[in-house]
Symmetry: C2
Subunit: 345 residues, 2 copies
Amino acid sequence: MRMATIKEVAKRAGVSVGTVSNVLRGSNQVAANLRDRVNHTIALMDYHPNHAARSLKTSQTHLLGMVISDLTNPFFPQLARGAEDAAIKQGYLVITLNSDDQLDREKRILSALRSRRVDGILLVVAPNGGHDAHIRAVIASKIPIVCLDRVPEGIPVSSVATDAVAGTEMCLRHLIALGHRRIAMLGGELELKTAQDRLQGYKNMLAEADIEIEPGLILTGDFRTASGYLLTKQLLLSGRNPTAIFVANGMMALGALRAIKELGRQCPGDIALAVFDDVPGNGSFFPEVTAVVQPAYQIGYQGVELLLRQRATGEPRTPVQILLQAELRIGESTQLLRTSPVLTR
Amino acid sequence: MRMATIKEVAKRAGVSVGTVSNVLRGSNQVAANLRDRVNHTIALMDYHPNHAARSLKTSQTHLLGMVISDLTNPFFPQLARGAEDAAIKQGYLVITLNSDDQLDREKRILSALRSRRVDGILLVVAPNGGHDAHIRAVIASKIPIVCLDRVPEGIPVSSVATDAVAGTEMCLRHLIALGHRRIAMLGGELELKTAQDRLQGYKNMLAEADIEIEPGLILTGDFRTASGYLLTKQLLLSGRNPTAIFVANGMMALGALRAIKELGRQCPGDIALAVFDDVPGNGSFFPEVTAVVQPAYQIGYQGVELLLRQRATGEPRTPVQILLQAELRIGESTQLLRTSPVLTR
DNA sequence: TTGAAAGCGCTAACAA
DNA sequence: TTGTTAGCGCTTTCAA
């Protein structure tokens, strides 16, 4: 059965389509009795305005596209929920797509989104080694775009992200205050600004505490669980004996914890652990992991708000970069145990 | 800047709009030289067909709507990814929305999705206490709909879900084989078929093992972490002394673990724990929790396939109910410790 | 305050 | 094989 059209509603209610349209759009130019009659007919016929027709006429889809790397990384569902809430509040819907951090997927997704005439794009960029022509093409086409979480370098684009340098510094300060000096760092792909920032924060704090940087304690992975697992095994079997590990994100931390467990080491007894980004399940298990918790929901929420603001006012001359502060949540994984051999040397 | 239209492309290429349309749709009725000229012009003008206009004409949006309860429950991201992959493979995009298990949100979402004229709806129903008129309205309107995860009762609708009875039985069998007889059950809202099924599986196995059901060991919550936490505290302080707890989902298990930890009990030393549904972070912490792992990705994937199949062939006379089997993953949380007082009575 | 009608960009039926 | 055109359902002017 076909869906009712505005014409059918108008006929049934005994008014013109213009009047029905006015009622739909909440115009107060319509007499109360007519308005009631129309609304009643709408309910009666279970009428739902055809969005495609409306889009065609107004050239607005009220659709936003969002490209994230992977929804199964718990950082992104929160971000997606923030985006959804902000979008719905303004009458928009969001199509979310996963790039898995693969450049070709990102390109195809962006292309599909353009065909759909989305009113704006939220993008968590994949590492691209400088191949950013497809992103520049979006900017050139005047589709409003805001980058989330990862701020691409060398592209004039607005963004909302966590202040990763400050967040990392806060965490390292905590570790150093506990007496740790041999702190290892498991980082993400250094193409990504966020990965660089976390490494930078690490270096800053070591320098501030007059701790010499030991290159062998800095390992680079790719923000995935498998990578955290491998690097941790490698690190713990390297004989470099760090007393603490700082991990660049939650997924890697999961791998690190598994490796520590498998090697029969105790955390925090044998080794302390702290993470940038929250860890799935954190707080329900032992040890609760000390984590720099990002305002993921806010990144999504403010990203949409910024996007729609820019859309409303026209793209600003200079891009806006919003930096949100993270929060340090101290857990058992960096707890000092009296009996612990960790810091006694 | 406006985007190019098919008319402009036709003019520039010196052909009619009909010809451009034929080229776009890959018709082989077009002479090679014209086709090349048109394709060249399309590339030149960076033309992208207007999806809204096409939708209006063909009354197909190639959009699917998906309503889930909460993306931050890790079960759903997997399901969403399965749906996305299956949809993209057939040229569809998915709009995912969270109902938070609230009936009014579900209604509003369904209404928005209908306005968007989505080609099909994937729905994880919220508990509704029999208020399912809005779902029946979708069915009446002939929009293909497939329910995921939770099979609503008394509504003729296709679905893809986990075989919760069998999954629970498998898990209880494991617990009973370990010698447990005082097994508590923390369930979800009994309005939901999945919650009922899990309880049913529990009862089935106790009956099979000739264990009398003790009502005080069966607590009912709402599938959320807070509920798992509260019920576990209540249970452990009740003096009923269960030796094992079976929890109805992963989020509740997180709460249960936290409660056990806070009360200073050891798992599995003092109490064993098993869960229907996986637990966030499981496997990286101690204890790894014995879990009935659902094929979440498959539920999403097969849900979309079923939906599109039904759309292609017309709604079938009788709804199809697909039941997928879960897998029991045994962890440390149900490990028998020689020193454990648990089973010595 | 209400109605009539043009037209958004496309597809598909039909004509040439 | 290619061109012409009606019309999808809506918003929005303009007239009444």
